[in-house]
Symmetry: C2
Subunit: 331 residues, 2 copies
C-alpha cells in the first residue's frame, strides 16, 4: 500500500485539521468533534434553516468540501467508511440551528441512518426542530439486495446538498425544504463502474481484485461489489450501458436533466471528460435535454479508479438552485 | 493499462469536446483548433488585456479549467505532453485581443517556448501587442541540468494564471501585467514527490518503475525523474523535506506566503489534506506566515500518484488577486 499518510489511526483527524487549516476564513472544527462547520462572517447573522450532512470519511470532497454559504452549515466526519457518532452529529445540529430548525441529509446506510436518527432525538429534547432525508440514488443495488438495506446513497448526494443548501439560503422553511429534498432524491439516479477497487488504509490492499482487462459495473463507494464483471469496454460503450440502465429506472424519462460525471478518486480528469463527451453525445442522440452538467471528483471512494454517472430529472426552478452561488470550496 | 477512453489518438479531441459540452455557457472551442476560450456574455464587451496560456495535455485541469472571467481568455491544448502548434496559439491570441494586447503565460519547456514565440511573431504581423512570460517554478531541476532547458514550469503556473488573470480583469495594462507576472514567477517555487509514475496512453505502461516501498523526490509532470529515490516516508517527513528545500531557495525567506498543495492525478484528497496539515503545522513552527492556501488536483501528470508543494512569497496586493472572484470551473 502506497499512501502519503502518517499513522493510520490519525488519518481522519489529520485530514480534518488539514481542511480547516487550509481554509480558516471559511471553515472551523466544532470543539471536541470531527465536525467541520461554517466559519464565515455571514453565518453568525444567519436566520435560515440549517443544513447538516456527514458520514464516513474516504469520500472527499463529500461532505466537508460542501460546507459553506449556499450549501451545508456543517459536515460531520466519521472514521473511514464508518458513520460519525450521534453526539458529534448532535453538536453539528446545535451549531446549525438558528431557531428555524435543521435539515439532515443522510446517505442510506444502516449506521448513518441510526446515528443521525439518535442525534435528531437528542436535538428534539432541546426543542430544536429537525427533519431528515435519506439519499438512495444508487440504482445498481436493488431494493431487496441481501447485503444492503436498499439503494445506497452515492454521488447524487452532492446534488441534493446543493439544491437544499441553495433553497435554505433563499429562505425556504424546514418542512418545505425536506419535501423538496425528498423530491430531488426521487428524481436522482446513479450507477458506477470501477476499473480497480479502493485500498482502505487499515486493510492495506484493494477491497476486491479485478484482472488487468476487467471492470465492474455497479460498484458502491465502500468497495461494495457490483452487478457484473466484464472486459473493459471503450468509454462510449460504458456510457451507453450506464445511460440505458438509468433511463430505464425512470417511470417517464422525457424532460430536462442535470448530469454529474463523477471520478471515484484516482481517475484522471482526462478520462472523466472523454466519458462526459460520450455521455452528452449519447443523450443528445436520444433526444434527452441536458441543462446542467458537472464533471470532477465530487464523491469518491478513497483511491478507486472508476467513474459514476448521475442523472437528475429537473423540476420547477431546481436549475436555479444548482446555479446559485456558493462559498463551498469543492462545488 | 486501464483507462476509460476510446481510441488513443482521439483522447485529447474528445476531452476538449467534453469540457466545452459540459460547460457551454462558459466555454467554447475556437474553430479549427483545440483551443478552449471564454464563451460568457461578459467577454464580448471586454476591453481588457487578454491572458492566454496552453501546453501539452495531461495536466488537467491546467490550463482549460482556468479559462473564465478573472483568469484566462483561452487555453490552447496540445496533444498529450506535446506543445500546441503555433497556428492554434495564434488563433487564441487573435480571439483574446481586444485592442489592449495579450499576455502569454508559457511553461518553460523548449517546445512550448518555441511555439508560443512563433505565434507571438504571427500576431505581431497583425499589429497585436503580445508579451510573454516563462513559468519555471520547479526548483528540483537545476538550471544547468542536462535533460531540461532549466527549471520546468509546473504547479505554480496556476498561481501565476490567477494573479495575472485577476490583475487583467481589474484593468492592468499589458507591460505592467507582464512585469507583475515575472515578479510572481520569481517568487514561486515548487518541488514534487511521486509514489508512482504516470502512464501515457500511447506508451501503455508507467514512465518509470518504483518498488512497492519507494518514492521519488523531484519528479516533473511529464514523468521526468527526480533527484532522489528513497523509501516511502511519513507525510510529515516528506513535508519537512520539501519545505526545507523550497525555503533554502529563497534569498530571504521571511514574509508572507501562499501555499499550494497539489495532487498529481491519482492522489486522493484524503492524502492531500493530511499532507497539507503537516505543511501548515511545520511552517507555523518555523514562524512562516501563510495567508492563502489551496489544496487539490490543480496541475496533474495524468495518473501520477504524488503531490507537489508550491510556496509563493506574497508582495503588495497579490493576496487580493488570489482571492478575487473568477468564473473558471477549476480554480
Amino acid at each position: 500500500m502506497k499512501k502519503i499518510i502518517n499513522n493510520i489511526d490519525d488519518i481522519v483527524s489529520e485530514m480534518v485539521h488539514g481542511i480547516v487549516s487550509s481554509y480558516p476564513q471559511k471553515l472551523k472544527i466544532l470543539p471536541g468533534t470531527l465536525a467541520i462547520a461554517r466559519n464565515d462572517a455571514a453565518f453568525s447573522d444567519d436566520k435560515k434553516v440549517g443544513v447538516v450532512s456527514g458520514g464516513g470519511s474516504g469520500h472527499e470532497p463529500l461532505h466537508s468540501g460542501y460546507v459553506g454559504k449556499g450549501m451545508l452549515c456543517a459536515a460531520v466526519c466519521g472514521q473511514i467508511n464508518t458513520s460519525p457518532t450521534p453526539d458529534q452529529i448532535y453538536e453539528a445540529i446545535k451549531y446549525a440551528d438558528k431557531g428555524q430548525g435543521v435539515l439532515l441529509i443522510v446517505k442510506n446506510y444502516a449506521g448513518d441512518d441510526m446515528n443521525f436518527d439518535m442525534a435528531k432525538e437528542l436535538a428534539e429534547f432541546d426543542d430544536i426542530k429537525v427533519e431528515s432525508i435519506l439519499v438512495d440514488d444508487d440504482i445498481s443495488a436493488a431494493d431487496d439486495a441481501e447485503d444492503t438495506q436498499g439503494k445506497r446513497g452515492v454521488a447524487g448526494t452532492v446534488l441534493v446538498e446543493k439544491i437544499c443548501g441553495a433553497a435554505a439560503e433563499q429562505g425556504m422553511e424546514l418542512h418545505e425544504l425536506a419535501q423538496l429534498g425528498q423530491r430531488v432524491i426521487n428524481n436522482t439516479k446513479t450507477v458506477a463502474v470501477a476499473l480497480s477497487a479502493a485500498t482502505v488504509p487499515a486493510v492495506g490492499h484493494p477491497g476486491f481484485e479485478l484482472d488487468d482487462d476487467q471492470m465492474e459495473y455497479g460498484v458502491g463507494i465502500h468497495n461494495e461489489r457490483g452487478f457484473s464483471t466484464e472486459k473493459i469496454a471503450p468509454s462510449k460503450q460504458i456510457a451507453e450501458e450506464l445511460i440505458n440502465k438509468i433511463l430505464k429506472s425512470y417511470d417517464h424519462n422525457t424532460g430536462d436533466y442535470a448530469v454529474l460525471v463523477n471520478g471515484l478518486g484516482s481517475t484522471p480528469l482526462m478520462e472523466q471528460f472523454v466519458f462526459a463527451n460520450d455521455v452528452l453525445n449519447l443523450l443528445k442522440e436520444k433526444g434527452i435535454k441536458v441543462s446542467f452538467t458537472k464533471v470532477g471528483n465530487k464523491v469518491t471512494a478513497i483511491d478507486m479508479h472508476g467513474i459514476s454517472l448521475t442523472l437528475m430529472k429537473l423540476e420547477n426552478n431546481w436549475i436555479e438552485y444548482l446555479e446559485a452561488p456558493t462559498d463551498a470550496i469543492s462545488w
